[in-house]
């Protein structure tokens, strides 16, 4: 790449090569990877949903409502994939059955705790919160790409391929939503 990373104006992930992978270390089967990913997506969904209820700016509320919906869509994709891999009828509670301890979790994409993210977001400007959202989603995208590369079997690789593709679309959508909001505000 001409100019190296200093010339790059796109998304950048932080952290060492193994960053975030410890979260998935308990998993040994594709169904477990899916369940763990589902909990991360649920954490992000809770974060965005909570922001909708606390923010007062209408446009920002709409944006985060759309982000929460996008996470629900992502969870639905994981539910469908679990059904395909397990051969069972899709069960919305599958994640808690596969990883019971996950129900008590407070993590969201990017490895941040939902409670800490919400505490941090209080009183912050919309642009700061949006930057945090992009940072967390980019971290998730980076993690899923690396997990796919290191997957122990084809089915696990399939799980992370789906996740990384969806995360890529999600990031493009997030960036587009943010740009649209900025155009509306400046127009």
């Amino acid at each position: 790449m001409e100019g190296g990373i200093n010339a790059w104006k796109g998304l950048v992930a932080e952290g060492p090569p193994q960053s975030g992978m410890a979260y998935f270390s308990p998993a040994t089967k594709p169904e477990e990877f899916i369940a763990l990913a589902w909990f991360l997506e649920d954490g992000s969904r809770k974060f965005y949903s909570e922001l909708v209820s606390t923010l007062t700016d209408r446009e920002t509320k709409e944006l985060y409502h759309e982000l929460a919906k996008a996470e629900e869509h992502h969870q639905a994709s994981l539910l469908k994939l679990h059904g395909e891999l397990s051969g069972k009828a899709p069960d919305p509670g599958f994640a808690g059955s596969v990883i019971p301890s996950g129900k008590e979790g407070d993590l969201m994409e990017g490895g941040m705790r939902v409670s800490e993210a919400l505490k941090w977001a209080k009183g912050k400007a919309m642009t700061d919160i949006l930057e945090l959202s992009i940072s967390l989603e980019t971290h998730a995208y980076d993690l899923y790409l690396k997990m796919e590369r290191q997957a122990i079997d084809q089915r696990s690789a399939q799980v992370f391929d789906l996740l990384s593709r969806e995360e890529k679309e999600h990031l493009e959508r997030l960036s587009s939503l943010i740009e649209k909001r900025m155009v509306i505000r400046s127009g």
Binding site: W8, P16, P17, R149
Partner: protein
């Protein structure tokens, strides 16, 4: 590595072309390599980039799929 590889032309792409390429391709269609130090990688890297510091390339190039285009930065 074959000596003929030393004579293979290497293209330099501007960031905009790389961004478009990454947008259009799936992750399994290319190798993305960061040849900087671990500290530099940790401070910020392209999502999904594999860290192979430049001094380790000769011993680790087998990690890359030679059938796929390789983007390096």
């Amino acid at each position: 590595m074959s000596i003929l590889n030393y004579f293979k032309p290497v293209s330099t792409w501007p960031p905009e072309k790389i961004r478009q390429f990454l947008k259009e391709k799936n992750s399994g269609e290319f190798n993305l390599v960061d040849v900087r130090t671990p500290k530099e990688y940790e401070a910020g890297h392209l999502p999904g980039a594999r860290l192979i510091p430049v001094g380790e390339i000769s011993s680790r190039f087998s990690e890359l799929d030679p059938e796929k285009p390789t983007i390096v930065y």
